[in-house]
Symmetry: C2
Subunit: 141 residues, 2 copies
DNA sequence: TATAACTGATACTATAATAGTAGCAGTTAA
DNA sequence: TTAACTGCTACTATTATAGTATCAGTTATA
């Protein structure tokens, strides 16, 4: 069972890279090389981040991408939602009418509880907090 | 994003049905009808539950399935693991050597933390506890 | 002003996972 | 003997995942 797709994984790593050099524009090529992300795949992901206004881009030579939101307000949930949709552990909500029997509902109740928990936990992890961890770690080595 | 597949969903519902009539053998046909699960699909799922010793079967006419483990010791995690493998939010563990850079590792640390949390939460939800919820609910209506 | 280094957008492909369906062989109660 | 079962396995359709490839347009700069 996996909760993170490559889209999300790479997006987070790209955002960490961009958050680390806040005011410069980094090209997709540079990020791809640094983070070892397949170049064309990364470009798709960056387009997704642009559409959702987490980064801005500059076209042409010397162009690239720059972060466009406070990294402390950029949570992992936001990124998951962009690439994987809402966190919902079960899809029952979409077919309520088909869920005729109760056994399903007591299960859903529990699932919803855990779902909320996961959401809150992921909300508390932001690009900003990850970057802080990263810097701490670097100081130690 | 989904955490439960149909396999898991149906397996839990089938186990609730079986736990509800502990000492009788219920046929796949009966369970399928009660819980509105596609018959052949359910049979595959029941085979999975047999292999993992959650239920036993009796062949031939009048045969079927019976629960073979204390429902209170049968957690949702057990069932998820059977049909979806271990709960691991990211698959990085399988390619540690490829994860050259640290940004990935700080992310993994957080993911592992949340992973443990999810695991514990799902462990606390058992077929037994769900059945209790179900009976409570029935008394109220 | 040509060109190299970029982004924007979109179409394409390969593989795996998910959600089933179908059918044959063997077992057992009545 | 036969109907109702399970055991086992092969098959299919759809969707998600993880990329690749390419063309059009933009911009710094030599």
């Amino acid at each position: 069972m996996k909760l993170f797709t490559k889209h999300t994984d790479y997006a987070i790593r790209a955002l960490l890279e961009l958050a680390g050099s806040k005011d410069e524009f980094l090209s997709a090529r540079q990020i791809a090389k640094q983070q070892r992300i397949p170049y064309q795949f990364l470009r798709q992901i960056l387009q997704g981040l642009i559409k959702n206004k987490l980064v801005i881009s500059k076209e042409g030579s010397g162009g690239g991408f720059r972060i466009d939101k406070d990294p402390d307000l950029m949570s992992i949930v936001d990124i998951i939602v962009i690439f994987q949709g809402n966190i919902q552990l079960s899809d029952c909500m979409f077919r309520k009418k088909l869920c005729a029997n109760r056994s399903n509902c007591v299960l859903r109740k529990q699932i919803n509880r855990i779902e909320k928990l996961v959401n809150e936990e992921f909300k508390s992890v932001t690009i900003g907090s990850l970057l802080k961890d990263l810097k701490k770690q670097r100081r130690r080595f």
